[in-house]
């Protein structure tokens, strides 16, 4: 009698569940039929859907849709590459804007696309600063190791600033329905989270690391806003620890399987001296490939789990996000992408980029409370692109 009918938004599978068994708070649920996870709020489902009329409070499931295709992007990519070469890199900012505009413009939410509004000239200025720093860094570390170390340290200290500046620049130049995103430049918090906590984490033998990740994700989400509406973040640190725990389990399993396998081979095959160079020569690539696979898998596993956790803990006004990336799907996409890129000497990179973008966006949805008409714009100032470009050139990777 006191039951709730839970419906999976992916496959439509539904099941009556005892009310007492459902926690009162928002919960990510894994469908027993299709094994995809979705988000379920018991409070908003106090009445079973059979006798409650669909009203405004029922969240609308709005999937992100990606409409780009590899053939189109191949043209953009190759022309970008050629123009970058003939201009000795000076075209890079225009290339970057064009690429982003293509991906943003093909990302639809509720039939309205996103818009990337960065001014290539602002990016060019930032790119020149970043390129100058990179040349100083490369030359410095080549001629004098000490200068390299000092410069490396400076770059390390610059990272929290770069993260804030880059996020600021990208958010302010991103828009949906002509409403811009923004970011609160909390430099002090950024230093605390990107320098202070990681250093502290070293002294806890890494036990603090999942918490640091949690704080970093929270930092990026909580300080972002869409027009006048701020993003909120209510994932729990405990969930990050669960992911870290499982990841560590996979690491141990991988080491045991490949390390043990190698040791076993050397004892099982008779007449082979394990210390002989022939044996080592034959086995080394095998062991290396094994470790590489383990590393690849662990990277994807933690990436997928943390992405889902982060998005599913994010809300904007009354709306929530639903991220349903799967380890199996992501592994296949990244593995086949890498293989395709190598075998085609890079020519299939545009196809790989489009495929990855489509997979990621197809697995992201907004559970919108009501329509998307209630957002108000907030004034946004121009931002210099130095941080964004320094981050790009030095390979500091972050972003939505």
């Amino acid at each position: 009698m006191n039951q709730i009918n839970v419906v999976c938004p992916h496959c439509g599978y539904n099941k009556d569940v005892d009310r007492e068994k459902i926690p009162a708070r928002v919960k990510s649920v894994t469908c027993p039929s299709c094994e995809r996870s979705f988000f379920f709020d018991a409070l908003k489902n106090t009445d079973s859907p059979q006798n409650a009329p669909p009203d405004q409070t029922e969240p609308r499931h709005l999937p992100f849709v990606f409409t780009g295709n590899a053939r189109e992007y191949f043209g953009i990519w190759i022309v970008n590459t050629l123009l970058k070469i003939v201009t000795l890199g000076l075209y890079s900012p225009w290339a970057k804007v064009r690429k982003r505009q293509y991906f943003y413009g093909n990302t639809l939410l509720d039939d309205a696309n996103f818009d990337y509004l960065a001014n290539p000239l602002a990016l060019l200025k930032g790119w020149l600063i970043g390129a100058a720093l990179f040349i100083i860094y490369t030359l410095g570390s080549r001629y004098s190791p000490v200068a390299g170390i000092i410069f490396g340290l400076l770059v390390f200290l610059l990272i929290p600033w770069v993260i804030v500046r880059s996020r600021l620049f990208n958010n302010r130049n991103s828009a949906h329905r002509n409403i811009r995103f923004n970011f609160r430049p909390a430099y002090g918090e950024s230093y605390k989270i990107h320098v202070g906590l990681p250093i502290l984490s070293v002294f806890t033998l890494g036990l603090l690391t999942p918490y640091v990740y949690y704080r970093q994700k929270r930092f990026l989400m909580e300080n972002s806003s869409f027009g006048r509406s701020s993003f909120g973040f209510d994932a729990r640190a405990g969930d990050f620890y669960m992911v870290a725990f499982k990841t560590f389990g996979f690491v141990l399993l991988g080491v045991a399987v490949f390390g043990g396998g190698a040791a076993l081979l050397s004892t099982v095959i008779p007449g082979i001296d394990p210390s002989s160079p022939v044996f080592a020569g034959a086995l080394m690539p095998l062991v290396m490939a094994g470790y590489f696979c383990v590393y690849f898998f662990i990277f994807i596993y933690s990436y997928v789990r943390i992405s889902n956790l982060t998005w599913n803990g994010t809300h904007l006004g009354g709306s929530r996000f639903l991220s349903t990336l799967r380890v199996r799907g992501m592994t296949w996409i990244l593995f086949s992408n890498t293989l395709a890129a190598i075998l085609s000497i890079g020519l299939l990179i545009p196809w790989a980029s489009v495929r990855l973008a489509r997979y990621r966006l197809e697995n992201l949805a907004l559970l919108a409370a009501g329509d998307l008409d209630h957002f108000r714009n907030a004034p946004v100032e121009e931002t210099s692109a130095a941080g964004e470009e320094i981050g790009d050139i030095f390979g500091v990777d972050f972003g939505f």
Binding site: G75, I78, L83, R98, D115
Partner: protein
């Protein structure tokens, strides 16, 4: 001309379904409770890009999205600008032109790697001050001593003989311009080998001395290494390989991990190609030495053959011939080819 579009006023996220009309030099936007008009000259039109909807940015902060390409083209023509990206767009959208761009890109990259980069690396290598090169060489020797070498087991007499031999080689080749030095080492890992470090240091292993039948053979190997030093090969190698890596990473830095892995292969191939050219250049110096001493290249050919045999024996797999892909990846040209070249000269 009309088209349907979405209007967002820039203050709220409300979507207004509107009709856009081009009316001479003005654009009219009409919908429920919306009636706007703006001169085309004050409107920014987004650059055409794939099948992405076009956007009109109005002077008051409003924005219109619409799918109709012809309407966008007409509006652009009305403004009379934006020609560059229209051209880029046409280029991107035609598969034929995209392949022309591809061919041009590949030709430019390969042309630069094959012809531009070696010239650049050579210039740069000669421009590096000798003191820097010497310091780099000393640093490299330190690292090699830790990782690969143990002290030479030769007695003092043999050592001074070899130093004397080396001085003779350097003098014959007029090598006064560099601070040449011979270092004797032993290495189980490298076996019979000789190396030239930046700055003029040449390393010779005990294992190579052991398989040499005459001192003239050792002298030929030393002359080969002097050739590497003379042509600044170590520095050029460093400059070329890091430049190629940087270039390819910059060009393909598009998809994480995939690109950097794909970049490793061409770097490897190109590196192998560079160093094979360098080996040939150094071989020429060895021949030059032997010719000046009135000897035939046979001494060098003989020791090359013996070095190869020694290495084949060590790796336990005496490969016959060595053709195909292994050739392409090896940093030295196949010994047979080198010997044929020596004899032909």
């Amino acid at each position: 001309m009309h088209t349907d579009g979405d209007y967002f006023d820039g203050r709220s996220s409300v979507r207004h379904r509107v009709t856009l009309t081009l009316d001479g030099n003005d654009l009219r936007i009409e919908g429920e409770q919306i009636a706007l008009s703006s001169p085309l000259a004050e409107i920014r039109i987004s650059a055409p890009l794939g099948e992405v909807k076009s956007s009109l940015y109005l002077p008051d902060g409003g924005k219109c999205d619409f799918a109709d390409r012809d309407f966008a083209r007409l509006a652009e023509r009305g403004k009379g600008r934006g020609g560059f990206f229209r051209g880029v767009h046409r280029w991107e959208n035609s598969l034929r032109l995209a392949f022309v761009a591809l061919a041009l890109t590949v030709a430019l990259v390969l042309g630069f790697i094959k012809f531009g980069l070696p010239l650049f690396a050579e210039q740069a290598a000669y421009a590096i001050p000798p003191a820097t090169e010497t310091a780099l060489g000393a640093e490299t020797l330190q690292i090699l001593d830790k990782a690969l070498f143990s002290p030479s087991g030769l007695d003092t007499d043999r050592r001074s003989e070899l130093q004397h031999l080396f001085a003779g080689v350097v003098a014959t080749l007029d090598g006064a311009e560099r601070p040449y030095r011979l270092e004797l080492r032993s290495s189980a890992r490298l076996g019979a080998n000789a190396l030239a470090l930046p700055g003029g240091t040449v390393i010779l292993t005990d294992e190579l001395i052991a398989i040499a039948e005459t001192d003239e053979e050792i002298a030929a190997v030393l002359a080969h290494e002097v050739g590497h030093v003379r042509h600044r090969h170590a520095m050029r190698q460093v400059i070329q390989s890091s430049a190629v890596g940087l270039m390819i990473a910059t060009l393909t830095g598009d998809v994480f991990s995939a690109a950097s892995m794909a970049a490793a292969l061409p770097t490897l191939l190109v590196d192998a190609d560079f160093s094979r050219d360098m080996e040939r250049q150094a071989d020429d110096v060895a021949v030059e030495y032997l010719t000046r001493k009135g000897e035939t290249p046979d001494h060098f050919a003989a020791i090359l053959t013996r070095i190869e045999e020694a290495h084949a024996e060590r790796s336990g797999q005496a490969e016959s011939g060595g053709s195909g892909i292994t050739d392409y990846f090896s940093s030295h040209p196949p010994t047979e080819e080198r010997i044929a070249r020596l004899r032909g000269d």
